[in-house]
Symmetry: C2
Subunit: 338 residues, 2 copies
């Protein structure tokens, strides 16, 4: 298993990427290709025992603010482009990026192409819930969708839940503004009708519409929505969690004498933080492209990078891309005449 990592992306710079990859390599048998500027990456590597970690040179970087498609044309030697090319040319089996998300998506799509039958790709983000992990897709790859796009997302999300999370028959919900089938915007209503019509012919159980709260209660394994709504969902969730933690900090700062009482609570608070922290899940697969591509948060620290690398390993071990290819082919093939 060879995993190509764009080492130049991310808000915290190449050092945390190298640290995360070294940590990932220490705990697995995969070998890693760090793509980027050798004069930056090699000194970082030399400090560590990096037998299964090599540098692949790339002279350019697509920065956070750049337009993905313009940058793709103008920077053929950008680290993300070189990393994707390694996968295309079968010198690597998977791709990990924590840089410009739009660029990672555009470059993967343009370099690796789509799985036949998939119209649009989706980012499948694993989320914490009170009852385990829920996969939300699309988290931002395709802002405007039609019902067929959402149906393809459901097939792909169900494959991920089955093969990576080990759910036998995933429960799939459609994110809506109410649980009744009459609720939704125009897209959700039309998609609901399509799901009802296809149910019975799918490898997942369509449970109907779900609300944001149902996802965090763990009422489904897979939640489907368009990429605009999914992205708003994720950023809103992060925003609420950050606000609550800030307000808690404000409350505690105003009462310094309480500090000693908090000390014994530390392990609990640390466990709580771990259960809601995105870094714990590390990265989200871009499903629908012809290859394993894991997209991490721009703010990833070394720990999150390590977990993104492990997400790539799990996707490879569990044949996620091949299984999606088979399932989509089956869904598109008309049943034989009786």
């Amino acid at each position: 298993m060879r995993i190509a990592v764009d080492a130049m992306g991310g808000d915290l710079g190449p050092r945390v990427v190298v640290q995360g990859v070294l940590e990932a390599a220490r705990h697995s048998r995969a070998s890693y290709l760090l793509v980027g500027d050798p004069s930056v990456l090699e000194p970082e590597l030399r400090r560590a025992d990096g037998a299964r970690v090599q540098v692949v040179p790339a002279s350019q970087v697509i920065e956070m603010g750049e337009s993905p498609t313009v940058a793709y044309r103008q920077k053929p030697d950008a680290s993300i482009v070189v990393a994707a090319r390694l996968v295309k040319q079968e010198q690597a089996d998977a791709l990990v990026s924590i840089g410009n998300t739009g660029a990672a998506m555009a470059v993967s799509l343009l370099t690796l192409g789509r799985i036949p039958g998939i119209d649009r790709p989706a980012i499948a983000t694993p989320l914490p819930s009170l009852k385990g992990t829920v996969v939300l897709l699309d988290a931002g790859a395709t802002p405007d969708c039609d019902p067929n796009n959402l149906f393809e997302f459901a097939i792909m999300g169900a494959v991920y839940a089955q093969h990576v999370l080990g759910v036998a028959r995933p429960r799939v919900g459609l994110l809506s503004n109410g649980e009744e089938s009459s609720k939704g915007n125009d897209l959700v209503k039309r998609t609901h009708a399509l799901f009802r019509q296809m149910n019975g012919e799918t490898d997942f159980a369509f449970v109907g519409n779900v609300e944001g709260g149902d996802i965090y209660q763990g009422c489904v394994d897979v939640a489907v929505c368009d990429g605009f709504v999914g992205n708003v969902f994720l950023k809103t969730s992060e925003g609420v969690a950050e606000m609550i933690l800030s307000l808690m900090k404000q409350e505690l700062d105003r009462a310094l004498f309480l500090k000693p009482f908090l000390l014994p609570l530390r392990p609990s608070l640390r466990r709580l933080k771990r259960r809601i922290d995105y870094a714990e899940r590390g990265g989200a697969p871009l499903l629908g492209v012809n290859g394993v591509c894991i997209i991490g948060h721009g703010r990833s620290n070394a720990y999150a990078v390590k977990n993104a690398c492990h997400a790539a390993e799990r996707a490879l071990q569990n044949n996620v891309v091949d299984t999606i290819r088979t399932r989509i082919h089956e869904a598109l093939t008309p049943p034989p005449p009786v």
Copy 2:
């Protein structure tokens, strides 16, 4: 000031509505009309000193699951219908409901009509942020919108922020999946262009696209989106807050010996809960209809009902509906030739 309250709605039954209204009346000079079944409401009232609280009989109730438009036709004597009719016939100045939200919207709209020039109504929900209250609209009245709808929402939300929250020149943001003007789904991109074109001619400052987290940081006074996205935003926010509180409780329950350490933290936790609790804000005005209509959460307790009543009083005192009427008229009137 006379406020008609649908006393039969709400998940917790008429008793909490009566309690909340009595509490509201005790702290203001408004008088209240409790609309519903006298045999239920009068015994509740008799226990209290309710000089400025009267019962107006209504023999039917629109239940939570009912289709709003069907129920409106079939139940002409439903409490919400009678309450709206009181406003229409100028026997009351405002309407408060914590029942079936769809029914409250449909009945208000059908009975009171729209403000001339307003195409679709919007629910304006006040939200907590690290820097004060932010108004989000639409929170669910109009799931599918066009750019003109969102522009009308901005005008109405700005009036609310100015007149009720006291913000001189409200900062209005468009809820999107990224801050750059290139981000958004098709609707948001077209709306962004319209806002840019109209800016300078408005009583608010358009600050561009905002993300969910920016709202909770208090970077804007008014956040505009379609009713589907707004409703998902709200329910997701509630879901995240509930999950974090559940996880905290789980953590604390697993370590009973920590309980004594928590006692001194109680006032802080209570203050924290108050800052994020919807009950604190009580109710959201349905803007765009020809009259003051406050919609509360179905799960409202007496405290939330009291705050919903106060929201109605504030909207009346600050002439929100008349000001919206004037502003929309101005926005629709072409400037005089120079």
